[in-house]
């Protein structure tokens, strides 16, 4: 069976996205901001719909640009709530998540109801649909992913330092808030890039599940990032394969289930930190309280 060229390119692009999402997500998890991406992810829908309405075009770069704007705005909204109200962080995230998603649904539904040509396909951004990607789209996604990886490579030392001991980093003179914002912005970029593959509702799984699975296998940051990338890559490819086999199925859920399966295997069988290893081997506490 010969696989068509288009499918190969799309697969490669989505694989790059999965890998980069795993790597970037690891930094977010290490910085204890695992769900910062969730609010941003739900907000992307509004930006995608708005970009379509404003420009009248359905090209992926246009839609993703809109998604990125609304994602960053939602993160800004989180900062404003934290700064100016007494609402606590968990409620603030839920507010931004729910309201921004509501804006997105309102726009999307309005587009569908008015029968604006081209608007029907926007629903695919809810749960992901790689079958509709062109080779050019995939190349764009891969390009952004590689740029994100380069940024991680460049600033790995700073990101690790701030994630591990922000007080020491601040006392040493590093601009901790700036580094934090860059990290969260990078997560937002990956969330947007992951939209075509996993959809707004589930893309956060791509930046959360591979890192926590990878953590179970290794005690070194570098290895954790690499392994997390690989797990994300495999999960993303699994989603593409499923989408190819059953066109009606959204890709997002398949990617998530693949990642979850790998996580489950890690939870059970990882050496030293896995369930089996801890039952059979010497008792090593997982955290020092």
């Amino acid at each position: 069976m010969t696989i068509p060229y288009n499918t190969l390119v799309v697969a490669a692009g989505v694989a790059a996205v999965g890998f980069a999402a795993g790597v970037v997500g690891s930094l977010g998890v290490l910085r204890k901001r695992a769900l910062a991406g969730d609010a941003a992810a739900h907000a992307t829908l509004a930006g995608v719909a708005a970009a379509f309405l404003v420009s009248g075009r359905r090209d992926l770069p246009v839609l993703l640009a809109g998604g990125l704007v609304s994602a960053l705005l939602s993160l800004g909204g989180l900062v404003l709530i934290r700064r100016f109200t007494k609402t606590r962080d968990d409620a603030a995230t839920a507010i931004v998540l729910g309201v921004s998603f509501g804006i997105g649904i309102a726009l999307l539904s309005g587009i569908t109801a008015r029968g604006i040509p081209g608007g029907g396909g926007l629903e695919q951004f809810l749960l992901g649909h790689t079958a509709a990607l062109t080779a050019a789209d995939a190349a764009l996604l891969a390009g952004i992913s590689l740029a994100a990886l380069a940024a991680v490579w460049l600033g790995l030392k700073e990101a690790t330092l701030v994630a591990f001991d922000p007080a020491f980093a601040a006392a040493s003179g590093w601009p901790v808030p700036l580094i934090d914002y860059c990290l969260v912005a990078l997560v937002a970029v990956m969330v947007v890039v992951g939209l075509p593959a996993a959809g707004a509702v589930l893309v956060t799984a791509l930046v959360v599940i591979p890192p926590v699975a990878a953590r179970l296998w290794t005690d070194r940051v570098g290895a954790m990032l690499l392994l997390s990338g690989c797990i994300g890559l495999i999960a993303a490819l699994a989603g593409v394969a499923a989408s190819g086999l059953v066109p009606r199925l959204a890709t997002g859920p398949m990617i998530v289930l693949a990642a979850a399966a790998i996580f489950l295997v890690s939870l059970l069988f990882a050496p030293r930190r896995g369930w089996l290893a801890r039952r059979l081997g010497p008792r090593i506490p997982l955290t020092f309280e």
Partner: protein
């Protein structure tokens, strides 16, 4: 050694009329304190007295509500490279996937600046620092798999790698076994012998009298400071540990209420 203005030249560390607020409530009132190198200096007081806050204020981790802090006569921003910091152990996630060597290398990061990776020179320095605190054999171990005393010594090694002139340590000997305590104290004495200043927030009065040249007694305000023997008098200790200063608490509350507008 402490507070003697007559020796000419700026003090190594000088707190001038420092007031610090947590959130909007003042917790440290009008601290005037000068400390000079070389020396081993302790900051002592009851729990919640603001000792850690004083340290954090000096390092710019907590904003000053009033007054200034100067190092060698200059503001912090100009001399950061000469100041080392060892925070409390509880502030760190010991499950973080880094090794002992990785943590010690972090002390060399400020020298490297943005984006540069540690090279062989930095690794050499880190290995030397690990040797000084007696942790050479656990360099590749993940930090969660160390005892309390070993964890504290990792932090100390990181501070040594900073090659600073002034060191601030926040409760470095709390919850640490006796052998590690002695090892840590030995390293601190070596630093003093090298001409550096080591300022320690300390919890134990008995060892303070033995180990430190100078002491500051702090309970929301400076009760007394100077050479250990003359400061640790019964009268001073009574005034420090006498119990909560209700008036200060009430005023602090009143100010916080008035400033709720922020």
């Amino acid at each position: 050694m402490a507070g003697e203005a007559g020796h000419g030249g700026p003090h190594t560390v000088e707190f001038h009329d420092v007031t610090v607020a947590y959130g909007r409530r003042p917790v440290l009132w009008n601290i005037d304190l000068a400390i000079d190198a070389p020396g081993l200096f302790a900051i002592i007081g009851p729990n919640g007295a603001g000792k850690s806050t004083l340290l954090k204020a000096a390092l710019g981790l907590v904003p000053l509500a009033g007054g200034t802090v100067r190092f060698f006569g200059q503001p912090l921003a100009e001399v950061r490279g000469r100041i080392g910091y060892v925070p409390q152990r509880e502030t760190v996630d010991w499950d973080f996937p880094v090794s002992v060597m990785d943590v010690v290398l972090m002390g060399t990061y400020p020298r490297l600046g943005w984006f540069r990776r540690p090279g062989p020179g930095e690794r050499e320095c880190a290995r030397a620092c690990l040797g000084r605190v007696g942790l050479s054999d656990v360099a590749e171990r993940q930090i969660g798999r160390l005892s309390g005393g070993q964890q504290q010594r990792v932090f100390l090694a990181r501070a040594l790698a900073q090659q600073a002139d002034v060191y601030f340590l926040d409760e470095p000997l709390a919850g640490v076994d006796a052998r590690s305590q002695e090892q840590i104290f030995r390293v601190l004495s070596e630093l003093r012998a090298e001409g550096r200043l080591v300022v320690v927030v300390h919890h134990d009065l008995r060892t303070a009298a033995e180990w430190f040249d100078g002491v500051a007694l702090v309970d929301m305000r400076l009760v007394a400071s100077g050479p250990t023997a003359s400061v640790l008098t019964g009268d001073n200790l009574r005034r420090t540990y006498a119990g909560p200063l209700d008036v200060l608490d009430e005023i602090g509350l009143a100010v916080e209420q008035a400033r709720r507008t922020r």
